[in-house]
Symmetry: C2
Subunit: 143 residues, 2 copies
DNA sequence: ATACTTGCAAATCGTTTGCAATACC
DNA sequence: GGTATTGCAAACGATTTGCAAGTAT
């Protein structure tokens, strides 16, 4: 079942989460997730993705970028990472993992999963369940 | 050395970080840090604090609330916690600690320091130093 | 054909800023 | 008195929304 059409995987990916594979969603998926199954690890803001889209001759409005990123996030294709007030990053790596955040440059970087380990985790307050644990290591780039 | 004047501690507190103890800064300090040395543990947004101030008959503009919260944060009296895009929380607990975040209600709660323990922490990427490690446990309130 | 998507511009939200009036030392 | 601080309103950046036009099934 190896598709011969390019990006057929992406079409399936979108369909499988109940989103119509429209021209712009496909184009953005290609930028975000890469042409084929290859796993990319990207952290993008809406602005960045918009810029990239334009560079690649994809005409999309910023509003659509936002809507698409939010839909993808709701569908579980992306994960939102909040590090700074007033800026949202979307992470193509949906697996459990944590982040380095370079405060000066605003860059975000995945931390390999094996290199962080929690020895002790508190119980969730009663009446609540843990949805996710986010660890952000804030860095200062020296001199 | 037990001061007899109420809130004299707050005046000192402000002076010690180089901020003039103005009427509004004192009033806000009282709301944030409590009347006397007592340690309060508060997580407020600018809006919340503004509301509280008004309720207590303190006339401050929202702009001043923002400026004050930022000054206090820069001065090390508060700590900013980012959990959601588009909303900033300020924490009166400046010591090293982590947070529970109730996603549904938007409430933030301190995690006792002893109940979290990192067994392994990655090395900072070369050329960078760790400024701070933030752990946020996102919770879902059940049923 | 019909429901879902898109683009655009306007609206909104949280936050910051400029500047004249005011309070602190 | 001189400088720091405040309030107000306007400015701001990021994000969302309403609606008419376009597109997927």
């Amino acid at each position: 079942m190896t598709g011969t059409r390019p990006y057929s995987g992406l079409i399936e990916k979108l369909k499988s989460v109940g989103l119509r594979p429209t021209r712009q969603r496909l184009a953005l998926s290609r930028l975000l997730f890469g042409g084929d199954g290859e796993v990319r690890d990207r952290h993008v803001t809406a602005e960045q993705l918009h810029g990239e889209a334009l560079e690649n001759g994809i005409r999309v409005s910023l509003a659509t970028i936002y809507n698409t990123l939010n839909q993808f996030t709701r569908a579980g294709l992306l994960r939102e990472v909040v590090v700074e007030p007033g800026r949202s990053y979307f992470d193509t790596n949906v697996a459990d993992h944590h982040h380095f955040f370079f405060e000066d440059s605003g860059r975000l970087m995945d931390i390999p999963d094996e290199s962080v380990e929690l020895a002790r985790l508190p119980d969730a307050p009663s009446g609540a369940t843990v949805r996710r644990v986010d660890i952000i290591i804030r860095l200062e780039e020296e001199e």
